[in-house]
Subunit: 282 residues, 2 copies
Amino acid sequence: MRVAFQGEIGAFSEEAVMALYEDVDLVPRPTFETVFEDVVNGDVNRAVIPIENSLFGSVHANYDLLQEHEVRIVGEIQLRIRHNLLACNGASVDGLLKVHSHPQAIGQCRQFLKQRIPNAVVIPAYDTAGAAKMVAQSGRSDEAAIASRRAAMEYGLSILAENIESNHQNYTRFLALSMEPTPRETLNESARHDWKTSLVYSMKENVPGALFKSLAVFALRDIDLFKIESRPLVGRPGSYLFYLDVEGSEANEHVELALNHLREIASYLKVLGSYPRGKTID
Amino acid sequence: MRVAFQGEIGAFSEEAVMALYEDVDLVPRPTFETVFEDVVNGDVNRAVIPIENSLFGSVHANYDLLQEHEVRIVGEIQLRIRHNLLACNGASVDGLLKVHSHPQAIGQCRQFLKQRIPNAVVIPAYDTAGAAKMVAQSGRSDEAAIASRRAAMEYGLSILAENIESNHQNYTRFLALSMEPTPRETLNESARHDWKTSLVYSMKENVPGALFKSLAVFALRDIDLFKIESRPLVGRPGSYLFYLDVEGSEANEHVELALNHLREIASYLKVLGSYPRGKTID
């Protein structure tokens, strides 16, 4: 099975792939657009993308790509994001002149960098694993990368400092994508609590209590919600896109009826997929 | 009136301050924590902070600070984020060897940098306006900063390229904070549509349809919602914090009754403030 993800080998997305699937051919891609295209073109069987982070919120760009492409969500996993300072064997923290990493990782480790190596030049890289690869290839002992433990193993680097992110409550939720929806026969009709369905919808404008009515279609059928978020549509005041994760799969009769009910009153609805609830990797 | 914001003079937050208030003493601060402390200590009369962005979602860190401090939201404004390439007079795009900016701004302008100055070294800075200040002080014609038009004016830099961000649907919503709530007598009782109240709450765990019930307290009183977001609490599966912006001020009888009703059923509730609905600056 071929699985695409954004970044280099050793990226957090790759860690999510490995936690979700065994025996895979990893297909690293430079951008999320190419990851989605790979799935649509059949170049890969699955893709894994980040969708929300406990500190930085939802990745709206990937919600947009989910709406644009005919892909389906078929799985999820939550991963603790741990940043490490990696360098070639023999390097020491005090001897570092340059630190490479993705801008967001740099931001999350700013305090560590300021306190421990205030004079090192920080250089932004395309992704954390790519930064680790570059440091390994340079062979220099005065350069380091901020990346995952997995990237250290992949590129043969030493870990000079562990978990250097300022806030340790840093988790990213990843989604697995496929062109084929989860087969209906595998959707357990009875175990509603173990499944999730993700959707995006809009309500007709100027309808009082529109959001409440849309949630009523689930509440009236005792279907619980795992996520709700309103996203204001830029340039259209009063218009929103709603992201919803509800309990149960589409194969569940109650969920199916609720979705049909929502179609009656929504101006737009896209069901992104049904999938088993994912675990958290600490 | 003294108003604190995070960043240097020329930061987007400063632009938000100027759009909200006239005749202010600007108080630039290095971190959001110091901005909040300034308000609490009475060192400033107001502070202005970013709370959500149309591409990157809610700033959870600032929601956390709003919960921790006894400050009140007293106003809001929405600002289009436009990035520009700034350099000293006489510099040209082709002659640039280094570009300085905040990591997030660098990320938003990656395509421009890749296409127009692929060989320039990109150097992350603490904030966009600080990068502009540094370039101005260097006097060099081979360095540039990515920052606002206002930063160009402030530091006497030329604009080599305008609106270089890849996605132009880039808006940030800012909140104005004060130790004093908006005075009750200024809260217009009748014009409910022109006011907003922001709150954060949690529901008791394992209550079926808890979120739906909490929204019912507003829907039953015909109070519309402007924002809703569930934030999963890390390490407590099934527990959520809800961010809600509802129509009307606390001084409105219906809103007051709804909040009392919500207190009956919520396990935690903090009203962050009532304020007039803000405009959008394009």
